[in-house]
Amino acid sequence: MLSFLIRRLLQTIPTVLAVVLLVFVLFSVVPGSIASTISDDVDPQVELRLKQQLGLNDPIHVRFGKYIARLATGDFGTSFRTREPVTSMIAKRAWPTLQLIFTAMAFSVLLGVPLGFIAALRPGGLVDTAAMIVAVTGLSIAKFWLGLMIMYVFALKLGWLPSFGYGDGSLKYLLLPALTLGVSPMALFARTTRAAVLEIMTADFVRTARSKGMSETRVVKWHVMRNALVIILTTVGLQFGGLMGQAVVVEKLFSWPGIGSLLVDSVLQRDIPAVQGSILMVVLAFLAINLLVDVLYGVIDPRIRYA
């Protein structure tokens, strides 16, 4: 297991480097510069000096080399806009984003997986039809519109929860954005679970278990559920990455202080170090989750061994 972990960690290095290079090249070719966003009236000499100071006049390969060297020491650079270390900016935003994503994920798994299971146990029945209508609707609705509707119903009409903000970071502020973010993966998990369970139900080992006289509850619990979990887990792992991207819209809508809103503002203002740092954090988080998923495969399914 240890050698597997080390090998997987080493495999992440080229992925991270590729992402860093891609972002670097993209922001070197897109028009617009930080100088335009700092001031409408910068003295040309000052602008030149500023660009020199920020290293913006160096050739791209020199800048990239310097950036990688700094990155190797854990230094993400200094924000052009706020003049704060990027690591400290990300640190302030990381917890709210994690809170949001994990709550949304918990909601979507806890609701979506049982829904898919129940639907698969009676395919074509009333529950299945209703569950699939919910799932397709959940997948089709735009996050922005859904968020507004959720705000309208739960904050304005029912008055149960605040419509925006982080407050003290407690659950009452977290629920609406997490619900908005969680509906789409919940729908996806419901559909994936249903499809996985339906497929496993017709597998040979399930038929064998039934023919041995095993009760239906035991068949579902020990054979169907466990095998379906591997597929569900893969989907959950992949969805974490998707949620990080979708969180941008939700964070902005609910004034939630996460990495997503930092990323949007940094892109708009051409704050390259902050953009690179934010994207890198998202990539690292995504890789970490997927590594965790790989490890969990072995726990769920003893047949999977990491040689």
Binding site: G32, S36, S39, R81, T82, Y152, S163, G165, P257
Partner: protein, 544 residues
């Protein structure tokens, strides 16, 4: 007679008497209530919103020129001057007295001796000198440098040729002498938060950016990046009895629809409205009275590059102004949330000429001018635009068929706002649509068209006309304010005739304000920038 008088109540009957008594009592109560409503209440929380993005740029207000950041900075910091919305001009804030000498070039400020920073230290002239020197640090490119440059020797500091601004002299702890490079009203240069006074030395510490210290009516408590800033009353604020509120919370709410829900849900006290919401609020009897609007000092226009051959001809530029039905666009597309522009200076400018009429919609005249200019079949140009709903792609899309009617074809080039800013500064365009500050100082606003103003500064159309320069130079030299105003009006009329731009509109800033929040100032420089010490909430506010 006496009898009859005494007899009146009897004639009226007891019931009538009771009704009158009730009416009189009710009127007295109403009057008392009204007096009470007008008496500012101490305490409560003011919940403002910052609508221009998903975060504040920095807690170091010297580093950012975004309107978003000045919303909180108006509560936290103070500059040498402040904008007085009632007077419509900047007034001294940190100075009790200003003496002008040296032919208008030397300003001597007698500073307040009762202004304390939030760390308890008294402000002195050293803090002003330190602050202005900091802003001129050329290695940092602070945006406020454009204002401080008006002090003699400031540009040398910016270029690294001097260590200190030579035009600043401390006479004593509370007297500061400032020598200017031009005869201008320094109030227009030193009222924004970009020139906020920091405590000398403490302002340079790394901790300052995490926990800023100012002179404003509220001191810093907490910043949740991307969500809010919380400030609380500064007890040693120099204006007696102010501020009224205990706390100010500025929530970042970039999404108009989310602000709308929060406002209706009474979670926020102010909300900036876009065109669609403006119409909805006007139509809603419960919300229409919450609307506060003001003509802001921003002019929306299409800039034309004179190096693109057709636009070098004044007649072509005028033809474009005649060819576009601006009123139709303002009414139908911008939903009336703008004022028609006549020339460059906006409605709230002291030099605005009310007798001036905008270019009328006259496609026949436009066609004639194009023919006279040698373009009877029109021409094609590239129009660079952002997606902005009030001065971007939707407006361009509406204009295209109007120009097409007179033979002018448009090729749209859509870019991001950050890119547009770069395009405009570098002159890399044939035409662009933009919103540019055109006040509050009319002289400074018109100077953007002076030949000596470089294109990247604000002369985006690279306008060069010696006759215009002459009028403006004369306006800058005269001490007679009436004559100056007259000359500025003349310069503005000159621009109308030269038509370097399509004069589209002046922004009508609209904000919804909850009925319990009082003291809102109609600030034409930016409606969201409020002197928070003037604001107060009555006891109907849900945020006690």
């Amino acid at each position: 007679m006496i009898k009859s008088l005494i007899g009146i109540p009897a004639l009226m009957g007891d019931h009538m008497m009771f009704r009158m008594t009730v009416i009189v009592a009710a009127m007295a109560l109403a009057l008392a209530g009204s007096a009470q409503a007008q008496t500012p209440r101490k305490g409560g929380t003011i919940r403002m919103t910052a609508p221009y993005g998903s975060s504040f740029t920095s807690l170091d207000i010297h580093t950012t020129q975004r309107a978003q950041d000045e919303i909180y900075a108006k509560a936290l910091h103070r500059s040498l001057y402040t904008w007085d919305s009632a007077e419509g001009k900047p007034v001294p804030e940190l100075a009790k007295e200003v003496v002008v000498s040296g032919g208008g070039l030397v300003q001597t400020f007698k500073l307040r001796d009762d202004a304390y920073f939030h760390n308890g230290r008294k402000m002195t002239a050293d803090d002003l000198i330190w602050t202005y020197n900091r802003i001129m640090d050329g290695t940092k490119a602070y945006p406020g440098a454009r204002y401080v440059r008006i002090i003699e020797g400031a540009a040398a500091v910016e270029k690294g040729q001097a260590k200190e601004i030579s035009g600043l002299k401390k006479i004593d702890d509370f007297t500061l002498e400032m020598k200017l490079t031009e005869k201008v009203d320094p109030g227009f240069y030193f009222f924004t938060a970009l020139t906020s006074i920091y405590p000398a030395d403490e302002g340079a510490k790394d901790s300052f950016i995490q926990h800023p210290i100012g002179l404003g009516p509220f001191k810093f408590v907490e910043h949740v990046p991307g969500s809010r800033i919380v400030l609380e009353r500064w007890e040693k604020f120099y204006k007696p009895g102010k501020p009224y509120a205990d706390k100010v919370i500025v929530s970042i709410m970039g999404e108009a629809a989310a602000r709308d829900v929060a406002f209706r849900n009474k979670e926020i006290d102010t909300s900036v409205l876009g065109p669609a919401q403006y119409v909805a609020y006007l139509a809603d009897p419960n919300l229409k009275d919450t609307i506060v609007d003001v003509a802001e000092v921003f002019t929306r226009y299409m800039g034309m590059n004179p190096s693109f051959k057709p636009f070098a001809d004044k007649r072509v530029r005028q033809a474009i102004n005649y060819a576009i039905d601006s009123d139709l666009i303002i009414n139908k597309l911008v939903k009336g949330k703008a004022y028609r522009a006549t020339s460059w200076l906006p409605l709230t400018s002291p030099a605005y000429d009310k007798t001036m009429k905008p270019y009328p919609y006259d496609p026949a005249k436009a066609k004639q001018l194009l023919t006279d200019a040698g373009y009877p079949s029109g021409f094609e140009f590239e129009w660079t635009t952002s997606q902005n709903e009030s001065w971007g792609l939707p407006i361009v899309s509406a204009v295209i068929p109007m120009l097409d009617k007179v033979g002018i074809k448009v090729k749209v080039k859509q870019v991001e706002t950050a890119v547009l800013a770069e395009v405009v500064r570098t002159g890399d365009y044939q035409a662009f649509i933009y919103s540019q500050q055109s006040g509050p100082d009319p002289l400074a606003a018109l100077k953007c068209f002076h030949s000596s103003t470089p294109q990247p500064a604000c002369n985006y159309m690279n306008f060069r006309n010696p006759d215009f320069d002459k009028i403006l130079d004369e306006a800058g030299q005269t001490d007679d304010s009436a004559k100056r105003n007259q000359l500025l009006q003349k310069a503005n009329a000159f621009l109308y005739e030269e038509a370097p731009v399509w004069f589209f509109n002046y922004n009508k800033a609209v904000m919804a304000v909850q009925p319990w929040l009082h003291g809102i100032q109609k600030n034409p420089t930016e409606l969201t920038h409020q002197n928070t010490e003037e604001l107060w909430v009555d006891d109907t506010s849900p945020a006690k």
